[in-house]
C-alpha cells in the first residue's frame, strides 16, 4: 500500500488539499483569502510533487482503474500550473465582478482533480466519473456570475448539452462493454488484438459514441456549437480555465480513446482507415468553421472560442498523424502545451478589461490601446502572434510540429488546407493588434486595468511563449519521450 500511496502522491495531495480548503473556508466564512491561499498551496504542492515523481516508472493501481505514468504526472503538473495562474490572474476580476467567493477555489480544485484523474483513467467508468467530476464544477463555474442571465444561460447550455453528451458517452461505453466484455483499457486492447474481432459493429459504434463525447468537449466541429455561447457567457477566468484545463484534459483523453483498440492489428485496416477518414473530416470541418467564422467575430471571447475550434482542427491533424505506425502523440502534447501557455495569458489579459455595458469585451474596446498602455499592447501582440503561429513564439513550433508530422505521414493536401486556414485566421488575430496600434481610441472603448498579480501572470505567460518560441528543444524532447498509455 505504501507504494500505491507514493505513486498516487500528487493526486492524494490534491484530494487532501480540497478537503483542507473546504475546511478553512468553512472556518472563516467572511473572507475568501484562506481558501485562496490554501488552494494555491495545494496546487503548488501537487505540481511539485508531480514533477518530482516524473521520473518514476508508470504503474497501474487499484486493479487497473488508473495508471499513473509520466503522461498523467506531467499533465497534472500542467493542470496545477493552470490552476495557480488562474487563481492569481482571476483574483482581480472576481473582486471587480463581486463574485469573489471561496467556492471558486473549491470548484477549481475539484475540476483539476477530475481532469487529473481523467487523463490517468484506465477504465471507461472511471473515465466517466472523472469527466463528471471535472464537468459539474465547470457547469457551475460557467454560471458563477449568478445575477447575470448571460452567465446562467451559458451554464445551462453547457449543462444540457454536456449532460446529453455524457449519456452518449455512457451508451458508447455500454456498447464497448457489450462487445468486449470489459470497460478496462488493457482488456479492450487485448480483445482487439484478436483478428477475428475486426469489423465488430457494436464495438465500432460504441467507440464512435465514446469519441463523440470528447469531440464535444474539445469542440471539434460539428460538435462545437456550445462553445462560443458558453465562452461568451462564462466569467472570463472560467472561460480561460475551460479553454485550457478542460480542453487539454479532454484532448489527451480523446487521443487515448482513439487508440483504445490496437489499430495496427491485421484485419483492422478498414477500421483504421475509417477512423482516419472520420478524423480527417473532423479536421477539415473544424478548420473551416473555426477560421472562417473567426474573422466575422467582434466579441473577443467568441473570437477565442472559434479560435479554439480551429485549434481542434489542427490537433485533429496531430491525431491523424498519431494513427500512423511509428508516430507518437508528442505533436499533440506539444501543441497543447504551447496553446495553454498562450491562452492563459490571453484570458487573464481579457479579464483585465472593464467594458462599459454588459456585452463583454468587443474588438472596439482594444482601439488605441497602445496609447493608453504600451506594455499591455505588447503583451497582447505577443500572445496573439503565438495564436496565429508566428515565428519566435511557441505557437509557431506547435503548428510546425503538427504540420511536419502530418506532411511526413502523407497528409500534405490537408496540411495545405490547414495552412490556408491559418492564413485566414491570422487575419482575425492580427486585426486586434491593428486596432490597438493603428486606430485612435474609440470613445466607447473599455478601460483596462490589471492588478500586480494579473499582470504578473500575463508576463509569465509571455515569457514562456517567447522562451519556448526560441528554445523549444527541451520541451519537445521531453514530450517526445512520453508514451501513450493504452
Amino acid at each position: 500500500m505504501n507504494e500505491v500511496i507514493q505513486t498516487l502522491m500528487p493526486w492524494l495531495i490534491l484530494a487532501a488539499g480540497i478537503l483542507v480548503t473546504l475546511l478553512v473556508s468553512v472556518i472563516r466564512v467572511e473572507s475568501k483569502r484562506p481558501a485562496q491561499f490554501s488552494a494555491l498551496a495545494t496546487l503548488i504542492l501537487t505540481g511539485t510533487s508531480a514533477i518530482q515523481t516524473l521520473a518514476l516508472p508508470g504503474e497501474a493501481v487499484f486493479a487497473g482503474s488508473i495508471e499513473i505514468s509520466s503522461l498523467s504526472r506531467i499533465l497534472l503538473a500542467l493542470f496545477s500550473l493552470i490552476g495557480i495562474l488562474f487563481i492569481m490572474g482571476g483574483d482581480r476580476y472576481l473582486t471587480k465582478e463581486r463574485i469573489h467567493l471561496s467556492d471558486y477555489y473549491h470548484l477549481l480544485l475539484i475540476m483539476i482533480l477530475g481532469a487529473g484523474v481523467m487523463v490517468a483513467a484506465k477504465d471507461l467508468v472511471v473515465l466517466f466519473i472523472a469527466l463528471e467530476v471535472m464537468s459539474l464544477p465547470a457547469y457551475t463555474l460557467a454560471g458563477f456570475r449568478r445575477s447575470d442571465s448571460r452567465s446562467n444561460e451559458a451554464a445551462i447550455k453547457y449543462f444540457v448539452l454536456g449532460g446529453a453528451v455524457g449519456a452518449v458517452f455512457l451508451l458508447g461505453a455500454a456498447f464497448i462493454f457489450g462487445a468486449t466484455g470489459s470497460t478496462q483499457f488493457p482488456a479492450i486492447y487485448a480483445w482487439s488484438r484478436q483478428p477475428a474481432t475486426a469489423g465488430n459493429l457494436l464495438f465500432a459504434a460504441g467507440h464512435f459514441l465514446v469519441l463523440v463525447a470528447f469531440l464535444f468537449k474539445v469542440a471539434a466541429a460539428p460538435f462545437h456549437f456550445w462553445k462560443p455561447d458558453v465562452y461568451e457567457g462564462a466569467p472570463t477566468p472560467v472561460t480561460g480555465v475551460m479553454s485550457t484545463l478542460v480542453a487539454v484534459a479532454s484532448f489527451v483523453t480523446l487521443v487515448r480513446l482513439v487508440h483504445l483498440p490496437a489499430l495496427d492489428t491485421s484485419g483492422w485496416e478498414s477500421y483504421l482507415s475509417a477512423v482516419k477518414g472520420t478524423v480527417r473530416a473532423l479536421a477539415v470541418i473544424s478548420l473551416l468553421v473555426g477560421s472562417l467564422v473567426i474573422i466575422t467575430q467582434k466579441n473577443l471571447k467568441r473570437l477565442f472560442a472559434y479560435s479554439s475550434i480551429s485549434q481542434s482542427g489542427y490537433l485533429m491533424l496531430g491525431v491523424l498523424a498519431s494513427l500512423n505506425p511509428g508516430q507518437g502523440i508528442s505533436q499533440v502534447l506539444v501543441y497543447l502545451f504551447g496553446y495553454v501557455f498562450a491562452a492563459v495569458g490571453l484570458f487573464v489579459l481579457l479579464a483585465q478589461s472593464e467594458p462599459r455595458g454588459d456585452t463583454g469585451v468587443e474588438l472596439v474596446d482594444l482601439t488605441g490601446l497602445v496609447k493608453k498602455s504600451p506594455l499591455r499592447t505588447a503583451l497582447w501582440s505577443v500572445l496573439l502572434f503565438s495564436m496565429a503561429g508566428m515565428p519566435f513564439t511557441v505557437g509557431f513550433f506547435t503548428k510546425y510540429f503538427i504540420f511536419l508530422s502530418s506532411v511526413g505521414t502523407g497528409e500534405a493536401p490537408l496540411v495545405i488546407l490547414a495552412a490556408l486556414c491559418a492564413v485566414v485566421s491570422a487575419y482575425a488575430y492580427l486585426r486586434p493588434i491593428g486596432l490597438m496600434v493603428m486606430r485612435e481610441a474609440d470613445p466607447g472603448a473599455a478601460q483596462w486595468s490589471g492588478g500586480f498579480w494579473s499582470q504578473f501572470v500575463v508576463i509569465v505567460s509571455v515569457i514562456l511563449v517567447v522562451f519556448l518560441g526560441l528554445m523549444p528543444n527541451a520541451m519537445i524532447q521531453y514530450l517526445k519521450g512520453i508514451p501513450l498509455i493504452h
Partner: protein, 487 residues
Amino acid sequence: METSSSLSFLLTIPLLAMVISWVIPKALQRLYAIFGSALILGLTVYETAGILFSATSEAAKVFFVDQRLEWVSELGMSVGFRLDGVSAWFLILSALTTLVAFSTRGSWYRKQPRLFVSMGFFLLFALNSAFLATDLITFYLSYEAVFIPMIFMVGVWGENQKASAVFRFFLMSFAGSILMLVAMFQIMSMHHAATGQWSSHLADIMKVVPNAPVESLLWPCVGFFLAFAIKVPLVPFHGWLKEVYVNAPMPGTIWMSAILSKLGVVGVIRFVIPLFPAVIKEYQGPLLAVSAVSVIYAALLAIRSSEGKTLLAYSSISHLGFVMLGLFSLSAEGSNAGVLLSVGHAVTSAMLFFLLHQVEERSGNVDLSTSKGLASNYPTLFSGLFIAVLASVSLPGTLNFGGEFLVLLNAYRASALCTILAATGVILGAVYMLRFFQKLGLGTPGSANHADVALKKDLSFADLLMVILLVGIVIYGGINPGIFMKG
C-alpha cells in the same frame, strides 16, 4: 576575415544597433540611424571584401564561410548561414538600402522615432539573416521576421489606408510563405524517408531532394515558387503591391522595393532552382512567359499611373520580371545576370524613391497628372533624378544595362519569343520613365505647385552626398559590372 566570426559579426551588429537605439535621445535618432547604418555598411563591405574583390570567381570561393548550429534538433531544425559571392552583395545592398531609408525625413522621425529606428535595424538583421541562410527553417524564420518591421512601418507611419494595406500585404505574403513552409516540410519528409534523419539544412537536403522523381517534387516546388512569386512579385501575384507601396511611408517603400523584393530573387536562386532543377526545367517555358508577361503587364500599368509612387511601384515589378527572366533561363550566366540586375534595381529604385521623397518634400505631392516643372528650381535634385531615370531605363553605362542586357542575352538562348516580348518592356520603360521625369521636372515651372515651392532649397549637402554615393555606384557599376558577378 574569413572566419565564421565575421558571419556572426554581420548578424549581431544590426541587433546591437537596434538595442542602442533605445537609449539614444529622440532628437538624435536620425543622426544615429544614418551614422549607424553607414558604419554598418562600411563594416559589411570590409568584412566581405575578401569575397567581393578577389580577382576571380575561383579565388572568391576560398572565402566562403559556412556556419551551422544545432537548434531544435528534435524537429531537425538547425541554424545555417553561409557567406558567399551572392549573399555578400545582398548584405551590402541591405545595409545600403537601410542607409538610404534612414536618410529620409518625415513623420517617422517625429512620431515614435525610437521605434522606427530600432525597427529599421531589426529589419536589417532579418534581411541579413535571410540572405545568409542555408537552412530552410532559418530562411523561413528570417523571411517571416522581415514582416514584423514592415508591418510596423506601414501600420504606424503609413498613409490613409494603412490598415487595409497592411492586411493585404501580410495575408498575401503569409499565404505564400506558409505554403513554402509546407513545401519545406514535404522535402524534409522526403529527406527523412530517404535517410531516417530529420534535417532542414540545405546541404543535407540537396543530397536527396534534387534526385527525387519529378512528380513528387512538383508540389513542393509550387509552394516555394508561390512564396517567391508573391514576394518579388510576379504577375499575377502582385495584387498586394500597389496598395502597400502607396500607403507605406517612404522608407518602407524604399526597403520594400529595393531589398525586400530581392528576398524572392535570392529564394529562387538558392532554393527553387537548386532543389527542383527537373521541375523548373520542365516548366521553363511557362516560367519564362510569366516573367515576360510581368515585364509587359507592369510596364503598361506604369504607363497608366498618375502618381509617382504607383508608377515606380509598377516599374519595380517590370524590372523584377527581367530578373526572373534571367534566373529562369537556367544557366549560370543567366543567374549571374539576374543577380547583377537585382543589384542594379536595388540601387536604382532606392535612389528613385529617395529622390521622389525629396520631390514630395518640396512639392507636397507626386501627382503626375499635370506638369510641375520643378527641375529649374532644384537642379541637383533633378540631375540626380534624371540619372536614376536613365539607370532605370537601362541606358548603357549604367549599372542596370549590364544586368538587363546579359539577362536578355541569356534568356534569348532559352526562349527567343519570351525574350523579344520582354524586350519590348525596354520601349515601354522609356515611355513611362520619361513621362515620370517630364511631369515632375519639366514644363512650365510653378504651373501646378504650391506657392511656397520656390522657398525650399535644393538638396541639402548630406542628401547630395547620398545621391553622389548612389550615382557613383550606378556609374561605376555601368563601367565595371563584373564586380557584381562573382556568384
